[in-house]
């Protein structure tokens, strides 16, 4: 790898870590609003409130952590698969600074809460709250990245395109379209029309942006870390094209019960149920590939994390197709059940993919191994044990709300005390997950200084130093 390629990857890599430390921490802090609301009154002195902190939280984890770690992985993976160096690495590098600037500016403007300015006010679209000024910067940065990546694919030395390239390049383009729709096309609609376009954006932010990029990364990591060829080429084609066919239409399942033309709502429900096809195609491929060589899961942390990510992905999507039907949706909608689902996808599946990618990339761009097996295992077990508990507490809180309001006809105000305990566990377990992220950041930053030298072919994580062999004294 050229030095300037490494520089670009490193910038996106380390920025994503900063946001990973910050975003979830804000989430844990703001969850206190539901336990001891007066404890967060101090936020008002800072011109802040729970609801603004929530925007910080979602924007940081999506644009700060997920997007930046995925781009770091893309800048690393695409040249490898195309067998050329990254084209225009400088452009990709400066795009990284621009992206960081946009995320920081986004936070500053949300905090300022300017009212009624066309460029500087928050926008009313979930996950696209960034004011127009920030959107413009993000679009420029995204165009720079797409430019660099597409030029790399065009300059490739290997004629055949592996499925990851399809997902990553296609995903970058669909990300661009989705972002433009969510932030700019919405401006052309008023009234409920605005909400319908908003819905298109809302699910494609996860379906056409995070999902294809994350899956593309996993498609690269799993075979290479498991040292096995991909299980089925046919399935990978099926998965890719059915994803592209079914995902973009699902958006309105976020607002299934708003007044709208029924046919388009049904269209979104049917698309959502059909999504089980691409999901199963991907999941089978991801799990059957390492099945020939399961022992690698013990040695290879990138493999372990990405396989776990896939398991969470499967669970998310089973839950998704289930809750998208009217029969279930009316019961869980508006409750924290939905937020639990969102965390299963983003904190469970896609953060695992992101971490797997970072662990895989780190030695290859810095020349050092991660220094401590114990610490990586800790992070892994937090993701494998504490995170599911966090998810369950979240779901529990949603179900209690559902029962209390839908079945017992209690008002929301009365329900507040009924869900206190579930929300308490949510905060507790959430704090555990945040701790895992902080450990992960610490591990990587410390490995920069103390990690042993890495050679291609050795493990990403340093083996524990062999205990000094006890001399056997022969008489």
């Amino acid at each position: 790898m050229q030095e300037r390629e490494k520089q670009a990857v490193k910038l996106w890599f380390f920025s994503s870590l900063v946001w990973l430390a910050l975003g979830p921490l804000i989430g844990a802090l703001m969850s206190l609003q539901f336990l001891w609301p007066d404890a967060l009154n101090f936020l008002a002195d800072l011109n802040l409130s729970y609801s603004k902190a929530r925007i910080f939280h979602t924007n940081l984890v999506i644009y700060g952590w997920i997007a930046m770690s995925f781009v770091a992985a893309i800048l690393f993976i695409i040249p490898k698969l195309c067998d050329v160096e990254l084209q225009h690495a400088r452009v990709a590098y400066w795009a990284g600074w621009l992206w960081n600037l946009s995320v920081a500016l986004d936070l500053a403007l949300i905090w300022a809460g300017i009212v009624g300015d066309p460029l500087l006010s928050i926008q009313p679209y979930e996950y696209a709250e960034a004011p127009l000024l920030v959107d413009l910067l993000i679009v420029i940065a995204a165009v720079m990245i797409i430019f660099s990546v597409h030029r790399t694919v065009l300059a490739r030395k290997r004629p055949h395109l592996y499925v990851s390239v399809w997902y990553l390049l296609g995903g970058l383009y669909t990300t661009a379209i989705t972002y433009l729709v969510g932030n700019f096309l919405t401006l052309a609609f008023t009234g409920l029309g605005n909400q319908i376009i908003h819905a298109w954006w809302l699910h494609n932010a996860v379906g056409m942006f995070i999902t294809p990029l994350g899956i593309g990364i996993a498609y690269y990591l799993i075979p290479i870390a498991a040292q096995q060829p991909i299980y089925s080429h046919r399935l990978s084609i099926l998965g890719f094209w059915t994803l592209m066919a079914f995902y973009p239409g699902t958006g309105l399942h976020h607002f299934l019960q708003m007044p709208m033309p029924t046919w388009i709502g049904e269209f979104s429900v049917i698309s959502s149920v059909l999504l089980i096809i691409p999901v199963l195609a991907v999941v089978v491929n991801h799990l059957a590939t390492p099945a020939q060589n399961w022992r690698r899961v013990f040695d290879s942390f990138p493999l372990r994390f990405s396989v776990f990510g896939t398991v969470y992905y499967l669970l998310t999507c089973i839950q998704g197709t289930f809750q998208t039907t009217h029969a279930v949706n009316w019961f869980v909608h508006f409750t924290e059940w939905v937020q639990a689902h969102a965390h299963l996808a983003l904190t469970g599946a896609f953060t695992c993919y992101g971490m797997a990618a970072l662990i895989y990339i780190f030695p290859r761009v810095t020349g050092r191994q991660l220094y401590s097996r114990t610490l990586v295992s800790w992070v892994f077990w937090i993701m494998a044990v504490v995170f599911p508990l966090f998810y369950l507490a979240f779901t529990h809180s949603g179900l209690v709300t559902g029962v209390s309001v839908n079945l017992l006809n209690h008002t929301i105000y009365e329900t507040i005390s009924a869900v206190w305990l579930a929300r308490f566990f949510r905060t507790l377990m959430g704090a555990g997950v945040v701790l895992g992220f902080l450990l992960f950041g610490y591990l990587i930053v410390r490995s920069l200084r103390v990690g042993p030298r890495f050679e291609e072919g050795t493990n990403e994580v340093a083996e524990p130093a062999p205990a000094p062999a006890t001399r056997r004294v022969t008489v």
């Binding site: 008023t190 708003m258 388009i264 009217h326």
Partner: protein, 356 residues
């Protein structure tokens, strides 16, 4: 064989939820899909099934892809994305062109609303909506009522004729229907609590009125932002024409000063947050027609009795709310024993008496 079983299972997975669809289908269709939609759906189904069969059974000849075919497939990715976008744009166009309902929210930039409670406050609802946006109220509150909400606890005090329709939203510059309800729906909050001063006080310190509330304090908002936001809240669920004309139940000039004081306390102590004046239940029962009505109450030991709502009962309800809990309502009313004087109690009783 294995492939057939998989396909069959998949088919079952997809058909099963379809059966359950109609039972909870929230509303009848307000518009029809254009005919071209059904043609496209039929074509898409054929294409998808054909494609799946091809990937599962077809012959694959890797290495036959030319640069041109790669570009064609790349373009196909983008076309597929844009195709559904077009499908969404059609109903979006239909939705924004529907005629407005009579009660549709309709406040233009710069238009001023006078507090219907007669406090002399005024604010700009349109700008208030932007304040609502800038402070993220939408992450806890929704702005639409479903038919289900009337049968469940989601919308206390909402009436069947208030269920949202598409035409209610056409005058909004953009919509924030919301996906989460950590607090009550606000579609008709202005009809339930038409009082700007209360709304401002509640925004500044929600737990002053609702001790268990988890709503954050918005005391950092400027005076103007608070007034506009309160004006927006009051504009919700009220006919804009009537509000402009001033439906304010302006105090009668000859009013007993005790009643006037009671009305003032009703607001400043926050009774307005839980008790309406128009007969619809909120968190607590409405005060309208309460005086000397027979009320069924639950005693602390769990037995129910009937009492007449006279002065003594009302005083006890205020100072010792959990001594007799009205049947069908939760025991959440805070005790005001430390906050009211004897003459305050008198005034409140007189006020309630005046609300026949």
């Amino acid at each position: 064989m294995k492939r057939f079983i998989t396909l069959a299972l998949l088919a079952v997975w997809m058909v099963l939820p379809g059966w359950a669809q109609h039972e909870h289908q929230p509303r009848p269709s307000p518009t029809e899909a254009p005919a071209i939609y059904w043609v496209l759906v039929a074509l898409a189904v054929v294409a998808i099934v054909g494609f799946m069969l091809w990937t599962l059974y077809g012959k694959m000849r890797p290495g036959r892809m030319t640069t041109l075919s790669y570009h064609a497939l790349g373009a196909l990715v983008i076309i597929m994305t844009l195709f559904t976008l077009v499908l969404y744009v059609i109903p979006a166009q239909q939705a924004q062109q529907l005629p407005a309902t009579a009660r549709a929210w309709d406040w233009k930039p710069g238009e001023i609303l006078q507090d219907p409670a007669g406090s002399g406050l005024s604010g700009e609802p349109y700008r208030g909506y932007l304040v609502y946006l800038a402070n993220g109220c939408t992450y806890c509150h929704t702005l639409y009522l479903r038919p289900e909400d009337l049968k469940t606890g989601w919308a206390e005090g909402a009436r069947p004729n208030e269920v949202s329709q598409m035409g209610d939203f056409v005058r909004y510059p953009f919509t924030m229907l919301g996906t989460q309800r950590d607090g009550p729906d606000l579609t008709v909050i202005g009809r339930k609590i038409p009082d700007m001063q209360y709304q401002i006080d509640h925004l500044v310190d929600p737990r002053r009125f609702k001790p268990k509330s988890v709503m954050p304090s918005y005391r950092y908002l400027s005076e103007r932002d608070l007034r506009d936001l309160a004006a927006y809240l009051v504009s919700l669920g009220n006919d804009p024409q009537k509000l402009r004309a001033g439906v304010a139940p302006t105090p009668k000039p000859t009013e007993d000063p005790k009643i006037a004081k009671g009305r003032e306390l009703y607001r400043s102590l926050g009774c307005v947050g839980c008790h309406s004046l128009d007969g619809s239940p909120n968190v607590g029962p409405s005060f309208k027609g309460l005086w000397e009505r027979e009320v069924e109450v639950v005693l602390p030991d769990g037995t129910t009795t009937r009492v007449i709502a006279d002065g003594a009962y009302i005083r006890e309800s205020i100072t010792q709310a959990s001594a007799k809990v009205v049947k069908g309502f939760p025991n959440v009313m805070p005790s005001f024993a430390e906050r009211v004087t004897e003459s305050d109690l008198d005034a409140l009783v007189e006020y309630i008496k005046s609300l026949r």
